[in-house]
């Protein structure tokens, strides 16, 4: 009996190795609930997609490499929302015209489970799939870096919507839709010193994440160059699940800085600010673009974040028509009155960037599309006007300073690069 079970398991295994490795999960844009269902049929890529882009005879596919499970599933969930919106809009508006032929747009999604090994396999599967013209994602810097070598070697255009890590675009196949850590850190330092007149600053960041570390280091550098003093430069290890920052906060409170920079993921912010106030810190808080989720406002029941500043990608008060339409559609489609977060917006923009690249290329060849991406001079997206004129994958785009007041994200200033 036992031997038999073993034999069956072995046979199954060998069969699955061959069956499993060939198929990539297919998803065509529609609402998010439908797309996850479509994703469950891993073996039939093209069939599923054809159903939703029915009016088009031909379809262009891109790959979506996203963080649906693992440490931060909210990233994957938000990403899919933005992608779905953009894809559906593009298809409703008549698809993409390449050399006189109209194509529908669809995507194949693969979850990377917040795991570098898996992110790399996903990238390779997209590269192997002749139908896929480019990859969008991953969003997290670590996952992006794990795919960097593969997309470069295989020649597959990759657009990361949200990874601000500087190194990423050292590959000429990697583009991003957001600004970089350096830019962000420098803006924060400048704003803290020049506009907030803060002479003393403290920083608490998650040292296990390159994103947080990048901003913290750049902020310290720029702030000290401007003439400010960083009185406390403290860190914690988010990967070991630290939630108690009281010791660090006591130290920070004792140093009495004017500003405390917390360039950390928004889920950690409330805990950190609450503890800072409990320990007697009275100054202002400052944050990075990860703060851009309205949950932060919902959670802030004691209004500890009043007056806090953070750098965002866009704000609806100064938004272009594109952005206003996007926000309105988001409310309609997902039946909510909370505003979309930055991940949704950047993923949405990434799809449009890809569309522009394909239209510029007028070809479905991967290299041509990459060159098409390179030749995008300006693009008016939800998250601002992007220019790819400095010869690499980093867009030149403005950032907005947002202040939290009366429990709202209020627009304060726009910083041009």
């Amino acid at each position: 009996m036992k031997k038999f079970t073993a034999a069956v398991l072995c046979t199954l295994l060998v069969l699955t190795v061959f069956a499993g490795c060939s198929g990539t999960g297919a998803v065509a844009g529609n609402t998010s609930s439908e797309s996850t269902e479509a994703a469950s049929s891993a073996e039939a890529p093209a069939v599923e997609a054809a159903a939703t882009t029915g009016e088009f005879e031909k379809t262009i596919y891109f790959g979506l490499n996203y963080e649906l499970t693992g440490a931060n599933p909210i990233i994957g969930e938000s990403a899919v929302k933005g992608i779905d919106m953009a894809v559906n809009e593009i298809n409703a508006a008549g698809g993409i015209t390449v050399n006189g032929e109209t194509y529908g747009l669809a995507y194949k999604a693969l979850d990377n489970g917040f795991n570098t090994d898996e992110a790399a396999v996903n990238a390779q599967q997209f590269a192997d799939d002749a139908e896929v013209v480019a990859m969008i994602g991953p969003n997290d810097s670590d996952m992006c870096m794990a795919t960097q070598a593969i997309v470069t070697e295989q020649g597959l255009l990759a657009i990361s919507p949200w990874s601000t890590l500087v190194n990423l675009t050292s590959s000429e196949w990697y583009y991003r839709a957001c600004f970089t850590d350096d830019f962000q850190g420098a803006i924060l330092a400048k704003y803290a010193y020049e506009f907030e007149k803060a002479k003393k600053a403290a920083i608490l960041y998650d040292m296990s994440n390159p994103y947080n570390e990048g901003i913290a280091t750049q902020f310290k550098k720029s702030y000290e160059e401007l003439g400010g003093t960083v009185v406390e430069y403290l860190s914690y290890n988010g990967k070991t699940g630290e939630t108690d920052f009281t010791s660090q906060m006591t130290k920070i409170a004792a140093a009495q800085p004017d500003i405390l920079l917390l360039p950390n993921f928004y889920e950690e912010i409330i805990t950190q600010t609450t503890q800072a106030r409990d320990m007697g810190y009275t100054g202002k808080f400052m944050g990075s673009d990860t703060w851009g989720d309205t949950s932060l406002l919902e959670w802030d029941t004691e209004h500890l974040l009043e007056g806090a500043l953070w750098v965002g990608h866009y704000h609806k008060d100064v938004a272009s028509d594109v952005a206003l339409k996007f926000i309105e559609n988001y409310h309609k489609i997902y039946g909510t009155d909370t505003d979309p977060n930055d991940i949704v917006a950047l993923n949405y923009d990434s799809v449009y960037l890809l569309k522009l690249a394909i239209e510029n290329a007028q070809s479905l060849d991967r290299t041509a599309i990459r060159d098409g991406m390179k030749s995008i001079t300006t693009y008016d997206g939800v998250t601002g006007t992007m220019k790819f004129d400095n010869g690499n994958g980093d867009p030149t785009k403005s950032a907005v300073i947002i202040q939290i007041s009366d429990g709202q994200f209020k627009y304060l200033d726009t910083i041009e690069p």
Partner: protein, 332 residues
Amino acid sequence: MNKNNQSLFNKSAAWKFASAAAAVVLLIMLKELGILSTSTLLIFQYIGIYAIVVLGINMVNGYLGVFSLAHAGFMAVGAYTAAVCTKFFFSVEWMFPVAIVAGGLVAMLLGILVAIPSFKTRGDYLAIITLGFTLIVQSVLQNMEFVGASKGLNNIPRHTNIYWVMGCLLFAIFVVSRFIHSKYGRSLKAIRQDQVASMLVSVDVRLNKSIAFALSAFLIGIAGALIGHLLGYTSPSAYGFTNIVDGLVMVYLGGMGSITGSIFGAAVWQVLVQLLKGLGTWRWVVGGGLLCIIMVFRPKGLFGYIELSDLLKKIQAKMKSGKLKKGGNKDE
């Protein structure tokens, strides 16, 4: 080396090695014929690399029978050492084996360092010491600007290919099968079954434990070196809790104290991870459930303390006696 094993292989080890070599040759033939896509090949490389890791873990957790959690640390050390070698010192491809061996050796040195406190403790205390070791390694790497701190190292030359992986895997299989049939391997078995009794029959527990630890660390270090050069990128966060749990799952899924089990454990888990991808957020519900079911029905893992060769022999015997008519040997 010792008189009990004058020939390079004894019969059982030769069997294992030959079947593994045959599988590898088959795999490489498939690759050369262009039947396997690059991504399938990548998955096979993961399987190969993790099989080496699992063989290494099995050395300590299976054959020696203690509960060690040091593998993620050894892997990180191997990956970083080798990456630093090829990135900063010699990037030519023919020097790659030097880097691999360097990764293995540095991991081995640390393995001996970890082994020393392990003499004093047993059981779950060892687990904490080794867990501490892994987390210290991760922390040190996160703080070392020289290797990119938390940003990790990128632009590592991508030297790893299926030949290197399979070569190293065959080497690992060879080393482990040779080792467990040697005097030391038998000592390990004795220590596992009864440490005190084995001391009484003058088995040098310290020496044997250190050798097992060192060898295990060496193999896992090699695997680390391979994975760094496979992705062209390595970062400290890849070697934390998740990696530890993954390693344990693969070892115990495949079965302790079995070379066949190590390879199957790695293969089953890597394939399961890929296969369930289509399920979206439900994939770990199914994956965890399957893991649980397999363990309940095969508590010793797929191949706990048995090898494929034993299994085939038994099936052969059964076929002869006419009890089992067909099936069972499709797994090659």
